[in-house]
């Protein structure tokens, strides 16, 4: 097996004394699409925020392509190549769809306040390049025709796609997706699944949190199952489906 791209080791995080994530290990190889599933309150979103930098771990280490991540602020992690598609619609209101996506290029561009204010030639060049990349990213998620619309005026499905475009515009090495299919119509879900498959074919490493079991098992190479803040199983989708502990914890009913 090749050197892992992301390595999470023994990570803990508590809120007000209650551990949401306790001792989670997770290793993701380059090019892999990893699914993370678990019932509500299993710690999926907390784990996701620990990798993305929205939360810091109480204990444990996270390394990404050889760099220690766990003490870095979120924007530095973005500069290292981690991009995030949040649950819901965290878009930038008051900006057009294109401008939203252009923000995504922030991590890989560098014009500062001064050069931007003086409008020096390197800045103009970079602006052209960012615009170009943003248009490409919009095209890739099928939003090319929406570029000049206000982002908040897009329907939910398009807002989710917009977030994906914003993430892609930063040319990430690792893409985190938090329940990307939630709330989408069947057709939108299908389009999203196809996009993810294309990205995977292009070699992008992804971690995808899901509630919808069918959706995740269809796409993922490997699946990690969380319950009550711990990893209770890990394996290929087929192995996970056959694991009785998973079925019990995840479906957990028999009422």
């Amino acid at each position: 097996m090749s050197e892992p791209l992301l390595n999470v080791e023994g990570v803990y995080r508590s809120f007000g004394g209650v551990f949401a994530v306790r001792g989670v290990d997770l290793t993701v190889a380059p090019g892999e699409l990893r699914g993370v599933i678990g019932p509500n309150g299993a710690g999926k979103s907390t784990l996701f925020n620990l990798i993305g930098g929205q939360l810091t771990a109480d204990r444990g280490t996270i390394t990404f392509a050889g760099d220690r991540l766990d003490r870095l602020p979120a924007h530095r992690r973005a500069h290292l190549g981690i991009a995030i598609v949040f649950q819901g619609a965290r878009i930038f209101r008051g900006m057009t769809a294109l401008e939203n996506v252009m923000v995504g290029a922030h991590a890989t561009t560098r014009t500062g306040f001064l050069r931007g204010t003086l409008r020096l030639p390197p800045h103009r060049r970079e602006e052209r390049e960012i615009r170009q990349r943003a248009r490409e990213a919009l095209g890739r998620v099928g939003l090319a025709d929406w570029a000049d619309r206000a982002a908040e005026a897009l329907p939910l499905g398009q807002q989710r796609a917009l977030q994906v475009a914003r993430a892609l515009c930063g040319r990430p090495r690792l893409l985190l997706l938090d329940e990307p299919a939630a709330g989408l119509r069947a057709a939108e879900r299908e389009a999203l699944a196809q996009l993810i498959e294309e990205l995977k074919a292009g070699g992008l490493t992804m971690i995808k949190i899901e509630h919808d079991v069918a959706f995740v098992t269809r796409l993922a190479d490997r699946v990690t199952v969380l319950d009550l803040g711990r990893v209770i199983a890990e394996g290929t989708p087929a192995e996970i489906r056959a694991d009785p502990a998973v079925v019990a914890a995840y479906l957990g009913t028999a009422a």
């Binding site: 930098g53 929205q54 900006m95 923000v103 931007g116």
Partner: protein, 326 residues
Amino acid sequence: MRSRVVRWAPGVVVAAGTLALPPLLESGHLSVYILLGLAAMVTIGLSLLMGYAGQVSLGQASFYAIGGYTAGLLSVHSFPPVLGLLAAPVAAALFALLVGVPLLRLRGHHLAFATLATQLILLSLVGQADWAGGAIGLQGIPRLSVGGYEFAEDISYAYLTWAAVALTLVVAHNVVASRSGRGLRALATSETAAAASGVPVGGYRLAVFALSAAFAGLAGGIYAFYLGYIAPGSFPVLLSIEYVVMAVVGGLGTLWGALVGATAIVLLIQVLNTVGTQPGMPSYAPSVLSYAVYGLLLVVVVLFLPHGIVPAMQRRMTQTLTVGKR
């Protein structure tokens, strides 16, 4: 091509009007024109801060004061006045960086409270500082001179002020349109998503705070040279609120809004002053009138024109245009 002309036309008209106006104004009106320009500079900065970066400041007049005192003190101590003028925005920005590090941990109304408190502390300290003239103020500030040219007449201050307004407008416009500006506008609605896109949220908040302070500081510097006298009483808390009124009335998130808002309020104050100083009015009439009108204006605009005058007009215009096309 035509759309380009349409986009630039209002700016050109305004600029031409601005240049043509000073020689036509009598001296009383000229001083209003200068004060209007100064207010516009502060409001442009505040609009950048509130409208684009989503940070509320109720202490913008403190940066105006820092600029004024920096310019005043330097030139009173026989430094070349032009150095004072250049130092004014720098000192204001440095002060903003200094207080911004702790204060910008706060958000929303907490930040509003904290900037208000900062201004009160500053005014009170200046009022007790003998080296700055104490409560009586700093007197005998020389007129501004650059090279051999002395800004002796009001009309030269009018041109200086409006050149500075143009400068702040251009800087603000370029910042908003740049990569950093996009980062600022992004963090105004979601700091989390902005940070995840690589925007250093804390640093940017601090930078825009300092930039808005620099605009106010530059205005304060010109003010000190123009009046030749400044005191803590020249920068009351109400002045800070006035800037917020100007920014909100004109419309947050548009630079033209800041200009329109400042113009509307300054002209309104003049009308109220004229009414308030009519014979038979009590001595406090002008201030009561202006307080009452500010208050009502703020309430009415927020409740019924929540985006301010300029965006409301723009919407009205696009509506008429699209209806016309049908």
